[in-house]
């Protein structure tokens, strides 16, 4: 009976492709590999990773981004950051990548292990190229994993239904070696830049990743002279790791400086506005129909954006004046009357400050507007804001549009393209640079510093600073002061590019930067009958704070008054070392009495757990203990 019925019951899927088809056709196999490129999401998430570092602030409460920033991250709640729960959960996908990364590693492994079984019609050259791309993507994925979790299970097989699932986390050094092997394969199999279309993996991209990977592996978090023994959580200490990083960086830097394959863009914003920028080594090139959402997430509410990310005062503080001095240094020329005047040109391209020109494009065309984030106080003078007084009522010009939708007093400019519309369907074709030359220069400078080549370090810092539209004064320091310059240069040049969060961790300086009072600054326009006065005050970003009892900035007077009244020191005086000198930066007493610091880098016993991400709790449970948790969680 079965035989006569089989024809009728034999159906094939008409909405899916078979494996023979996919692995037997060069075009379809290419499409499979194309999909693997999406393994690590771009950092243009609503909850930008910068909002977890000391770069910025995420204005939407109740979210995982706020939780992580506050130091409340646990193996439990890291799960709902990416699975189930509310709509906000995808906001930190870039950080909690465990599940996603391994899902794509499975697909990569499946490809590498099965391509040769099929592929009759794919010629060997194409196969090699495809495999090379996948080896790179696997190395890329594992690099992202170890940067977050340290040693992870090295999975090279494609698991099937009836396997034993008993993998354990490998030692950190073994992971790095494994990645370097994949990179070697990738370097052999992938083509040169010249014979490769934009966006696809070539040998230079492999070198760039090797530069980044070896730098991470050489950094104190994973290569710690005070804890030289290696294991899952860090490598065995070796000064040679810096040499390895130096050599890896030199290789890609030479491609630019010797072979001329890359060059710094003439303009600082070129690498996100110009998809053909010579500075880009590898990027994510957004498609015409699947564009990025940076435009929507980060632009101002006034133009239908969400202002999901606002730069902090701590970030603004680190932009030097045009003369190369920090604002608190003597002779910096800084004036509180014009707090954002005369800064490093990169400030203006990265940050939108009050009364700067903000432009946008909608369906009626291109518009320029003065970015007015001020609070308006009619008939009030400075005296009305004296210490201990309740804040006077304010009248705002357009209450619901400007200031009510901004907390920190600053907006993000980086990634923003004024000539593209701000809508849900962001489609402006743009690029997010995964690797750009400036990073390679800075990697090289950092490695050079650590192998004792200070000249080379200064040379490459200054190369970055001498971009034609930046032209900052040359760095001349040496020793520890030079290190301060390395740190600050990365902060400023690579601002809002998902570096800072990892940098302060691999340098093990996060407890310092992420426990600072977390402040913004608001502009207040006092309108007396005769004259208009502008006052800036530092505010904590916790809420829309228009009514906080906050004071003028800097508030050393207020701090003194507070000490007199309360007998306590104002702990918001933040001791800041810069080029060998100590400075005190006052974030205003609002932070002192009113709220806990928003950013918090907790210490548990001797461990700072937040150096590494927690492994999701249910992964530990599911593994029945073969996967161990990171320290401190």
């Amino acid at each position: 009976m079965a035989s006569c019925t089989n024809d009728f019951l034999d159906k094939t899927p008409l909405d899916k492709l078979s494996e023979d088809a996919v692995f037997g056709s060069a075009a379809l196999a290419q499409s499979y590999v194309n999909a693997l490129y999406t393994v690590i999401p771009d950092p243009f998430q609503e909850g930008n990773i910068g909002a977890i570092s000391d770069e910025g602030y995420f204005r939407y409460g109740g979210t995982s981004t706020r939780y992580i920033a506050s130091g409340y991250m646990t193996p439990d709640n890291v799960m709902y950051m990416s699975e189930g729960g509310s709509a906000h959960n995808s906001r930190t996908t870039i950080l909690n990548i465990w599940n996603r990364a391994y899902e794509w590693i499975y697909r990569m492994n499946y490809f590498l292990n099965n391509l040769d079984r099929y592929g009759g019609s794919i010629d060997e050259k194409d196969k090699d190229r495809l495999k090379g791309e996948v080896y790179f993507l696997r190395a890329w994925t594992y690099t992202n994993l170890i940067e977050r979790y340290a040693g992870v299970p090295i999975v090279t097989k494609a698991y099937s239904l009836n396997d034993d699932y008993n993998a354990a986390r490998a030692n950190f050094d073994d992971c790095v070696d494994f990645i370097l092997q994949d990179l070697e394969q990738a370097e052999t199999l992938t083509p040169d830049k010249s014979s490769c279309v934009k966006g696809r993996i070539n040998k230079d991209i492999v070198m760039a990743l090797r530069s980044r990977l070896t730098l991470i592996a050489a950094s104190p978090l994973f290569n710690d002279p005070t804890r030289p023994e290696g294991g899952i959580f860090r490598g065995t200490y070796s000064a040679d790791k810096w040499t390895r990083a130096f050599n890896a960086s030199k290789a890609i830097v030479d491609r630019a400086d010797v072979e001329g394959a890359y060059a710094l863009d003439n303009t600082y914003d070129g690498y996100w506005k110009n998809t053909d920028s010579k500075e880009i080594i590898w990027g994510k090139f957004f498609t015409n129909t699947q564009g990025n959402k940076a435009q929507l997430f980060y632009s101002v509410v006034y133009f239908n954006g969400w202002t999901a990310f606002e730069p902090t005062q701590a970030m603004a503080l680190d932009y030097e004046m045009k003369n190369g001095k920090k604002i608190f240094e003597e002779g910096s020329g800084f004036s509180i009357k014009h707090p954002y005047a005369g800064r490093d040109p990169r400030f203006y391209k990265s940050v939108a400050s009050p009364f700067s020109v903000y432009a946008n494009t909608d369906n009626t065309g291109y518009h320029e507007t003065v970015l007015d984030l001020s609070l308006y106080y009619e008939g009030k003078t400075k005296a009305d804001f004296a210490y201990g007084k309740k804040e006077p009522d304010y009248t705002s010009k357009s209450k619901h549009l400007w200031h009510a939708t901004n907390n920190m007093g600053l907006e993000l400019n980086k990634w923003y393209i004024p000539t593209s519309p701000i809508t849900e369907s962001e489609t402006g074709s743009k690029v997010y640079p995964w690797f750009r030359l400036a990073e390679m220069y800075l990697n090289y400078a950092e490695a050079a510093y650590n192998v004792g080549k200070e000249d080379l370090c200064r040379e490459y810092l200054n190369k970055v600073r001498s971009r034609s539209d930046v032209m900052m004064p040359e760095v001349t320091e040496s020793g520890e002061s030079l290190w301060d310059r390395v740190v600050n240069e990365r902060r400023v040049e690579l601002a809002f590019e998902a570096f800072r969060y990892f940098d302060v961790r691999r340098w093990k300086t996060a407890p310092f930067y992420e426990n600072v009072p977390f402040a913004g600054m608001r502009t207040m326009i006092l309108q007396s009958t005769s004259a208009t006065d502008t006052v800036y005050r530092v505010v904590r970003p916790y809420d829309e704070t228009k009514n906080s009892t906050c004071y003028y900035w800097p508030t050393s007077d207020a701090s003194k008054a507070y000490k007199e009244a309360n007998g306590e020191d104002v702990t918001t005086l933040f001791t800041y070392k810069w080029l060998g000198k100590e400075y005190q930066v006052d974030y205003g007493d609002c932070c002192l009495n009113m709220c806990p610091t928003q950013k918090h880098f907790p210490k548990v016993g001797d461990e700072y757990p937040n150096y590494l991400m927690p492994i999701p709790a249910n992964e530990i449970t599911k593994s029945k203990g073969t996967i161990v948790q990171n320290p401190g969680y």
């Binding site: 899927p13 494996e19 999909a35 109740g62 509310s86 699932y165 909608d362 804040e391 849900e424 992964e619």
Partner: protein, 1126 residues
């Protein structure tokens, strides 16, 4: 003791009531019907020949004593009439009793001689049943009066005063009324003949019907007559409370998307639990059911146990059989008009804070962490006084977007009747349901026409054609109601915002008042459905007595066309300084976007079966052998353009010519099934009943080796009341039947996709193109295509198997003073298709791509009870009946893939608990003091006003291991219904109470003032520095957040009792005018739906399952209708 007191209780009822009949839920088509039409032609034939003709046509057998019948008599008759009339005509001297499938002939008692007399005399007599048993509680009254009625005593005796020429009527429930002229007699005895009740009615089972009396399976029934009382336009909602053993929950009230969720005897599988719905014998019409109207339905039968095994691989979740109305032969045309006007309003809406509560609660929340207030004194004052509606509005968003009442209309015309050879039922029906919104873009329109025609072509061949065409229009705004749509936004919109300025100008922002209108565009779907059925019934009695063949061909076509147009809209912006309004354009997309979706589905179902039904001197055999196959194809096409220069024309040709903006997709799906099935039944004198069912099913859902399955069902019954030891001794027990069944049924719903279709190819690796991946990237300067693998293949995938046991005890007392059906059931579902994503670690890369595997085991058991009671009061003018049903069903997972929680955490295990049982933190109280914070283990980030959770694993920390498995879910374990119907004179009243218990609803109240408005009770009661005694948690986004850390605090009892339906009707008495214009019947009625709900849940409708207040609410409906028959 208990038993005898029960008997006494029943007897005392007998003394009080006048007449009682067991009344089951509904009247259904009868297989053996004294009213059925037959044609008898006999020319000088013997009585036996005529009897045989009647037996053949009517399926009745005659029962008589040979001595009583004169077999020498010759009969000449040529007549088409009802069985009853014909038999009475042939045997004018016999009492004719129809019982079960027997016609019992007994000699008629000689009528008493007439005498004249007009004075009032005292009359005595005895009322007995036809078997001579005296009847207590029979009412004797003078015809045409309401007064002076007498009731019989335990010996069946009565005494009444009446005029000597009066006509006496004896009335007793369960029997036909009997009349006798007194004619001066002082002794008038009555012998009452049993009335046909539902006990003798037929029940629709798979591929045929069965007598309710000899039924051995578990079948719940309701009828179109009941379902028309449902005021909702969605028929599935009308099933709630009417069907024993069926859980019906209405989760959303949105027009066009308000199908109820139905589970038969609860849930038994971790996969798809939805029952198979078969309309007029054709499976695959599940979507149609809720769109039928009560007027076109004859009956709805639900197969709950092994009796469903006849549907094999799709029967494990139970089967719902829907039969539409057909015409009757030899009936004059009858035209019926109906019209219903309904007014709908939400049953409940969550109460949100007003601006005063919101602003104050926000400030208090901030104060807990020492933060400064959000609103200053001046602002608070503005909100309190409401003196500045431009800058400080106070908005109740529900008032802003929801009308007080919204209309719905239902109207229909039907014509039915039949000649000798042709019977027809034709119905046109229309429905309109408005959305509840102000300036609503939401509404639902439906037009349908049905034509069911049967033709008796020859004496033995009957053909039928059933056509049903329906057009549905679902109209919505471009913004959805559910799923982060209108209600999500309306509940979260702050009361400090407003929809309009005081001058009526529309405000900007995400304004719910915009979303409900068509300002943003529209989302419209038109569904065209054509169902066709061609049936043939060929009586082969000429070959062998009792043999017949049925065949059917059903071809269904469903076409769906959806058009989604999103455009920009204008709003106004107010400038506080200039005090001027400026008009602006808002949009979700920078330019208008149009998407069109076309889906075409074709289903062809062929069926043939051979039937045999014959009685050999009390040995009654039935047989069925059948074949069925169906094939289905779906074609899907999507075309869209994501850029338009203007919104003047919403058509594809007017979109951007740039192909980058094109959005196109298309695919097809095919399924095929083939089945062989059969049924064998035997009973001896309707006393000992046996049945065997088997189905051999093949489905393309599975790999070749696992494709065919065999599904048997056996059942048996014993009618104890037919045994002498009951029949002779316990005479009041008029029916008692014990029945039991066992079946093995299947469920082949693997990996049900979001569109309801099945992911059929899980046994092979498949790949698909992805689009819309936000992380997509470009290579070179052009977009690239992306292929991702589907699920990991499972080459062993096959059926789920349900082993179902059922034990039933049915009975009735005195033909129905009380009737009951008591059932115990148990199902063991194994091979349940589920994934292992709870136990396989993520580093394998598998958990998101796992196929279904046949690994789960779930047990489900419970009890059902149906009780009925019927009564006639005051000379039959007041008649009422009450039916009640109750079910308790509880499932328990025996095995499923589960996270290995470890030894110390058994309280987290799902095994041994019902499906859907979730993990909840156990709330002990609130951190009211700093000491509370320090002395109790806390979750990371806890502050004052947050919950104190129980540290279940006692490790000093609150982690995800401190969650406890809690059994109750939104699917109730107990459901019940109580139906009360009464008629008095020309009035009729119908009342349906429905309820559920042992259900819990988890909700996450809105408590974060930053993200939006606050739920009123949460805001009023929140813990603050000024309200330190409160047992409610603080507001804000904290560890007490209900959507992130699910806790016992928000796990609330969802039991309810609801006045589901109330209908009061009045039939206008016949009058001259009616006669003149030919009106046969005119009835007007008022009805209500969901009129009253008693529930502990105050914030939402207890049928809601959504946890975050974002579904369109359930409706309360006030309905007025008229039914006019010509």
């Amino acid at each position: 003791m208990r038993n005898s007191s029960m008997v006494h209780y029943f007897l005392s009822i007998r003394g009080i009531v006048m007449a009682i009949v067991l009344m089951m839920l509904a009247t259904v088509a009868r297989a053996q019907d004294p009213g059925q039409t037959i044609t008898v032609k006999a020319e000088n034939a013997t009585v036996k020949e005529v009897l045989s003709q009647i037996e053949n046509q009517s399926k009745y057998s005659f029962v008589y004593k040979d001595a009583d019948i004169d077999f020498s008599k010759r009969v000449t008759i040529n007549k088409t009439s009802t069985v009853e009339k014909i038999v009475n005509e042939i045997f004018p001297d016999k009492d004719v009793l129809f019982e079960n499938r027997m016609i019992i002939l007994t000699p008629k008692k000689q009528p008493v001689q007439k005498t004249d007399g007009k004075s009032v005399i005292t009359i005595k007599g005895v009322v007995t049943s036809s078997d001579g048993e005296p009847q207590i509680g029979a009412v004797i009254f003078v015809k045409g009066t309401n007064t002076g009625a007498a009731t019989t005593d335990a010996a069946g005796k009565y005494t009444i005063r009446a005029a000597e020429n009066a006509v006496l009527v004896a009335s007793l429930l369960g029997f036909k009324d009997a009349e006798q002229k007194v004619n001066g007699r002082t002794v008038v005895d009555f012998e009452l003949v049993t009335e046909e009740t539902l006990l003798e009615d037929a029940v629709v089972v798979g591929y045929g019907t069965q007598s309710k009396l000899t039924l051995t399976g578990s079948v719940a029934q309701t009828s179109g007559r009941e379902l028309v009382k449902n005021s909702s336009v969605n028929l599935s909602q009308g099933l709630a409370g009417r069907l024993s053993g069926v859980i019906v929950n209405n989760r959303s009230g949105e027009p066009g998307n308000d199908d109820a969720v139905m589970f038969i005897r609860g849930r038994s599988t971790l996969g798809d639990n939805s029952p198979l719905i078969i309309i007029d014998g054709v499976p695959g019409r599940s979507d149609e059911f809720s769109r039928l109207t009560g007027d076109e339905i004859e009956s709805v039968n639900v197969l709950k146990d092994a009796s469903a095994a006849i549907y094999g691989s799709r029967s494990a979740n139970g089967v719902i059989l829907v039969t539409t109305k057909r015409g009757k032969n030899n009936a004059p045309p009858q035209v019926t008009f109906t019209y219903d006007l309904g007014l709908q309003q939400p049953t409940r809406l969550v109460e949100m804070s007003d601006a005063i509560l919101y602003t104050n609660a926000y400030n208090s929340e901030l104060a807990i962490t020492g933060a400064a207030p959000m609103y200053n004194e001046t602002q608070l004052k503005h909100y309190e006084t409401g003196d500045d509606q431009i800058l400080y509005p106070n908005t109740d968003w529900f008032k802003e977007i929801i009308k007080n009442v919204s209309a719905q209309h239902k109207y229909g015309v039907s014509i039915n009747g039949g000649s000798e050879r042709v019977a027809y039922f034709i119905q046109f029906n229309g429905q309109y349901q408005d959305g509840i919104y102000k300036k609503s873009a939401t509404d639902y329109n439906q037009y349908s026409i049905r034509s069911n025609i049967d033709v008796q072509v020859t004496k033995s061949l009957k053909l039928g054609v059933s056509l049903n065409a329906r057009q549905q229009h679902k109209n919505y705004s471009a913004f959805p109601s559910d799923d982060y749509g209108i209600f999500y936004i309306a509940t979260r919109s702050k009361p400090t915002g407003a929809a309009y300025y005081p001058n009526g100008y529309l405000r900007g922002g995400t304004n719910p008042a915009v979303l409900v209108q068509d300002l943003t565009g529209y989302d419209k779907t038109t569904i065209n459905t054509i169902n066709t059925n061609f049936t043939a019934n060929w009586d082969l009695s000429s070959l062998t007595k009792g043999l017949s063949v049925n065949g059917s061909l059903a071809y269904d076509v469903v076409g769906k066309f959806r058009k989604n147009w999103q455009k920009n809209w204008q709003y106004w912006s107010y400038d506080e300084i200039t005090e001027l309004y400026e008009e602006k354009t808002a949009s979700y997309w920078s330019t208008p976007v149009l998407k069109e979706y076309q889906t075409n589905q074709h289903t062809l179902t062929l069926n043939a079966n051979l039937n045999y039904d014959r009685d050999f001197g009390g040995h009654h055999f039935t047989g069925l052998l059948g074949f069925e196959q169906s094939s289905y194809r779906l074609d899907y096409l999507k075309a869209g353009i994501n850029s338009y220069d203007s919104d003047i024309l919403d058509e594809l040709f007017a979109g951007s010519a740039n192909k980058d903006w094109y959005d196109i997709n298309g695919y097809a799906r095919e399924t095929a099934r083939r089945s062989y099935f059969g049924r064998v039944g035997y009973d001896y004198k309707s006393k000992y009943l046996f049945q065997f069912i088997g189905r051999f099913d093949g489905s393309e859902n599975f790999p070749e080796d696992n494709r065919w399955g065999f599904f048997p069902g056996v059942s048996a019954g014993w009618r104890l009341s037919e045994e002498p030891f009951i029949k002779d001794n316990v005479r009041w027990l008029t029916n008692l039947k014990l029945r039991a069944s066992y079946g093995e049924q299947g469920n082949d719903q693997v990996g049900v996709l979001s569109d309801g279709s099945v992911d059929a190819f899980q046994y092979m690796t498949t790949y698909e193109y992805t689009s819309g991946n936000p992380y997509q990237t470009q290579f070179g300067d052009s977009d690239a295509s992306f292929i991702i693998p589907g699920k990991v293949p499972n080459p062993n995938v096959t059926w789920e198997v349900a082993k179902t046991w059922n034990l039933g005890l049915d009975g009735s007392i005195n033909h129905g003073i009380i009737g009951w059906e008591l059932e115990f059931f148990k199902t063991k579902r194994s091979n349940i298709l589920c994934t292992r994503n709870a136990s396989i670690p993520y580093y394998t890369g598998l958990p998101n791509n796992l196929p279904d595997e046949n690994i789960g085991i779930v047990n489900n058991k419970g009890v059902e009870l149906q009780l009925s009671h019927e009564n006639k009061v005051a000379s039959g003018e007041f008649v009422y009946h009450v039916t009640g049903n109750f079910m308790f069903a509880k499932n328990s997972i025996t095995y499923m893939d589960e996270t290995p929680w470890g030894d110390k955490h058994e309280y987290m295990n799902l095994t041994g608990h019902p499906m859907g049982a979730s993990l909840y933190y156990q709330v002990k109280g609130i951190n009211k003091t700093q000491a509370d914070l320090e002395n109790n283990p806390q979750m990371s980030g806890a502050t004052l006003g947050d919950f104190i959770y129980e540290d279940l694993d006692k490790d000093g920390k609150i982690t995800s291991y401190d969650r406890k498995r809690c059994d109750l879910t939104v699917v109730p374990q107990i459901v019940y219904g109580l139906n009360f119907d009464a008629t008095w004179k020309n009035f009729d009243l119908s009342l349906l109470l429905q309820g559920q218990a042992r259900a819990r609803y988890y909700y996450a109240p809105l408590t974060d003032p930053v993200s939006g408005n606050l739920e009123k009770t949460a805001a009023e009661n929140a813990w603050t520095l000024d309200n330190r005694g409160s047992d409610y948690p603080r507001l804000g986004s904290t560890v007490s957040n209900g959507s992130v850390n699910r806790s016992s605090f928000y796990y609330r009892n969802a039991a309810f009792l609801r006045l589901k339906n109330l209908e009061l009707g009045y039939t206008i008495p016949q009058n001259i005018l009616f006669t003149k214009i030919g009106v046969k019947n005119l009835r007007v009625y008022l009805a209500g739906y969901n009129l009253l709900t008693i529930s502990g849940l105050k914030n939402v409708d207890p049928e809601t399952s959504d946890e975050s207040y974002q579904t369109y609410p359930q409706m309360r409906i006030f309905n007025a209708g008229v039914k006019l028959t010509f």
